[in-house]
Every structure is written in C-alpha cells, then in structure tokens.
Amino acid sequence: MDDEAPARSRMHDVLADCAQELSLEIAGDVASGRAALELLERVPCDVVLLDVRMPEMDGIELAHHLLKLDRPPAVIFATAYDVYALKAFEVNAVDYLLKPIRAARLKEALARVRTARPPRPETLRELQRVPRAHLSVQERGKIELIPIVDVVYLKAELKYLTVRTVKGEHLIEESLARLEEEYAERFVRVHRNCLVARAAIRGFERTAKDGETHWVVLLSGIEEKLPVSRRQQHVVREFSR
C-alpha cells in the first residue's frame, strides 16, 4: 500500500519479478489506510507492504489497526527517506525496504516472512512518533476506525475503556494511562478513570450530591456531565482562566 500511484505500480513490477521464484499472489493495492483495512477484511493476506509516510494515517498506525484483524498479517515497511523511521526500524529489528525497492531485497524479505509473525504492539508503540489519528475497535467482524478528533471522553471501566463520541460509544482494550501519555495535548484527566478532550469542554458546574458539593464537566455535543475528582480540581481553575 502506498498513497502514490507510481510507487504502487513499481511495486507491482518488482513483485512480478519475484513471482518467478516465489509463489505469491497479489491480493490488491490500495492508496489509503482505510482502503487497506477494507481489503484485508475481505481478503485475508499473509503479508502487507506498507509505505510509512502517508496522509491521514501513516503506515505505522495502520500496522497497529491491522493487529485487530482475526488473522493479522506480517508487515514489511517501505520508506524513501526518513531518518527517524530507519533508526527505529534498526533498533526494533523490524523488516523494512528502502525505496526505490530492489527485486533482490524484496525477495529476501518475502522469503523471511514465511516464518515471521505480525509485529508486536509494543514494537509499534516504539515506532510511533506522532499520536495515532484514529483508535480502532473490532465490532461485528469489522474494524471500526474512530477518528481521535471525534472523541469527547475516554473512561476506564473494569477491563475495557469506553470511547465516547457525539455519535455513540465504543469499547476498546487499551490502557488509559498509555492513551493519556500518547495524547497529552488533546486530553485532560478529570478523574482517576476519565480523560476528557480539551476541545469538548464547555464549562464546569458545581452540583450537590449526597450532601457534598463537587464539580462536574459540561461537554459540548452531549448532555452527559462528568464528575471532577477532588484530586483533579486544579483542572477547573486552569480552564476558568
């Protein structure tokens, strides 16, 4: 997958060269992360070739979401010139190809794939330099992408995490602490179990409950009010400034 058409057509050419020696079948090529997910839901594959730098969703983020598939594929990254990515690949022993791609190198990488497994989430987290643009969740056999800009709040509940958007709710399996770290600029912690999008905060209100008064967050787009814990009351002051 690559967002640039010539790069995809070149990959086809090189793969055709490899096909003479390796038995391989090309499931298709796509220009965006979303399209890649759709294709892989329909046609499970053993390996995907991913360009790193792409609009909307970079290759590393896509690799994250691919892990949610029933049969996650092995991943080979491709990049033209990206000092940071290359360093990260070396450090984490991730297979990658340099563009322009040579048939010989591709053949080697594909031969190794037969024994390779999908990347581990920890490795991908290491590689991720910018926060992911989406959260993903498997619902009814499909991978649902939730753009992070749509998220109003994240709330930890027992094993799962509720992702609340204006349109609805999703349950994902991720750690609240890790998300807080990843999206430090976007979200603010109002409670031990809750992160709220700064942009969605409309204001604060004092309410009384069981004879005790405490602050709640008013959100734009949804009626629900979220309690602010005593420990996080400084947030109210920061926002009222």
Partner: protein, 339 residues
C-alpha cells in the same frame, strides 16, 4: 546593484552606497558618533543639547554631501581594488570637509577649530564606518553561511530525490517517453541545485525551474497536486537570488499537499509593483501539522540570502489564513541585461 557576491575567499568590498539600508546605517552610525562626541565634550549634561546642535551644523551638511557623492560615484568606486576604494572614500571625505570648511564658514563658530582637527575626526569616523561594513560583509559572506546552507539542503532534498527516482523507475516499463522527460527535468533541477548559486539569476529561469520541479512532483502525486500560476505580469528579466522560490514550493508540497488525502492547490503569483518584484505562494494548511522545524529552516535560509543580496530592501512574510499558508516575498526590481 552588485550583480554577484563572489566572496568565497572574502577579500573585502565597499558597501553598495546606493542601497537604502546601507545609507540608513551610515546616517544612524554617524549621528550616534556625534552624540557620543557631544556627551564627551559637554561638561554638564544640561549643555548636551547645545553642544550637539553646534556639531550638527557641520556634521549634517557633511553627511548629506557625502551620501550624494558616494551614491554618484558608487559604480566607479566598485571597480577599484578594495584598498584603493577605501583610500578614494577617505579622499572624498577629506575634500568635502575642506570645501565645507572653506565655503561654509557662516555655519561654524565665530572662532572655528583648525581644519586639521576636522580632518582627523572625519578620517576616524570614515575609517570606523568602512571597518564596520567590511566586518558586516564578512559575517554575511556565503563562505561563512555555506556550511549551514548545506546542512539545511540535506534535510529535505533526499526525500524528494528518492521519491522521484522511485516514480521514474515506475514509468520506465510502461511509459518510457515520460520517464525520459522526467529524468531530463531531474537533471536540470539537480544541475541548478548543485551549481554555484551565489550570483543572481533571472526570474524567468527561476520560474522555469519551479515548473520542472512541480512537474516531477505531479508525476508522483497525480491529481492531488494542483498548481495555479499567475505570472502574466511577471517581470521576466528581474534578477533574483537563485533557488529563492523552489525551496518554498518544496515546502508547500511537503507540508501542504502530501499530508492530505484530498487534492490541494498550490498557487504562485508573481508580479511587479512600484519598482518591486513580489512573489506570493499559497498552499493548503492544516492546523495540526507536524515537522515544522524543516519549514522554519528553509525560510530562515531564504530570508538570509535575500538580506545578503538586497539588505533592508527585501522582505519575506508568512501568514497563516483559515486553511492556507502564505509566503510573500518582496524584493527590489533589478533589471538584468541578459536573461
């Protein structure tokens, strides 16, 4: 206007006295010197004003006369070797001082100091100014900034180079004709990128370079990159620093087009107005952009080169609109004889 700033092994050069920035600097520095002298002379700070006025009676006319003389003789002085040029400027100043001393008696005190005293003062002031301009020239000389420039060029270009090679490779089997054209464009582009880019080049050449660059980018990005040219009123013969627009377009593509899925427009508007050449580049802009360091470096580089060539007469402004990013360059319209 100096056509070239060949100062690889910097050997000193007189400043361009026709440049507004240079003239302003002379006026400010001379007046600061006069003020300093007045502070030293005045026994009481309350007397400062009257001492300053007294000295101004000779300083200001001399300053104005000198500026006119230097502007008039600028081309002649430029042609002399540096040390002869310095001597000539000193001579001009001393002659002007003598003339003013002889014919301007009414301006001076009833009891003027001897002429030799004025000579020494004028020679000191002129020497200081020339030394300042020499040091400034050295500090701004390309030899000094070259290392930085190179480090900067290595930042963005590899990305473009490898992606373009990849795009050309993809064409070789299916469309050899287009691949040929693309390689020719690349050769032209890299010839300029690797050339000695210290002399000014024509605007027409720069615009042509930009076209070749954008064609290569279009090869890879297809419809995602849309280009609007508004160059009907472009002064094609104007002299501009080479590679003043192309790096900005590279930024526009890298930050404005590549991070988007949907097509975006890069617009280039070049025109002349009131003796100035204006270039306005616009590209789509999204708020949550990453790599901004690279962009700032390229801008700083271009700003520095503009300053080196045109001093205070050139400006570079950037503006972030609703969802566009705009760079506006204004520089003096210097006509080139060849183009």
């Amino acid at each position: 206007m100096a056509r070239s700033i060949n100062q690889n092994a910097y050997s000193g050069a007189l400043p361009n006295f026709r440049n507004l920035g240079i003239a302003l600097r002379i006026v400010v520095i001379v007046n600061v010197m006069a003020l300093a002298a007045a502070i030293v002379q005045a026994k009481d700070l309350r007397l400062l004003w009257s001492v300053l006025l007294e000295s101004s009676a000779i300083v200001q006319p001399l300053l104005i006369l000198s500026l006119f003389a230097l502007v008039a003789l600028n081309d002649l002085l430029k042609r002399l070797p540096y040390y002869l040029g310095v001597l000539a400027v000193l001579a001009i100043e001393l002659v002007l001082t003598t003339l003013l001393y002889t014919f301007g008696q009414p301006l001076l005190d009833a009891d003027p100091a001897p002429l030799t005293r004025y000579w020494v003062l004028v020679a000191l002031a002129t020497g200081t100014l020339l030394l300042y301009f020499d040091l400034r020239g050295r500090a701004l000389s390309p030899a000094f900034t070259e290392a930085r420039l190179q480090a900067l060029q290595a930042r963005i270009r590899p990305h473009f180079l490898f992606n373009s090679i990849n795009a050309v490779l993809s064409l070789i089997r299916q469309n050899p004709k287009r691949a040929e054209g693309a390689l020719e464009d690349m050769a032209d582009l890299f010839r300029v990128l690797m050339a000695d880019n210290r002399s000014l080049s024509s605007l027409a050449r720069e615009v042509n370079l930009c076209r070749q660059y954008l064609e290569l980018e279009q090869l890879r990005l297809g419809d995602r990159l849309q280009v609007e040219w508004h160059i009907d009123n472009m002064p094609a013969d104007a002299l501009v620093p080479p590679l003043v627009l192309q790096p900005l377009l590279e930024n526009a593509v890298y930050h404005g087009i590549e991070p988007r899925v949907e097509p975006g427009v890069v617009s280039i508007n070049v025109y002349s107005a009131r003796g100035q050449v204006h270039a306005v580049l616009r590209n789509p802009y999204r708020q949550e952009g990453d790599h901004h360091a690279g962009n700032k470096m390229a801008l700083a580089n271009i700003r520095e080169r503009l300053q080196l060539h045109f001093d205070a007469e050139a400006t570079l402004d950037t503006r972030i609109g609703d969802d566009t990013y705009q760079v506006h360059i204004a520089m003096p319209y210097v006509k080139g004889s060849d183009s």
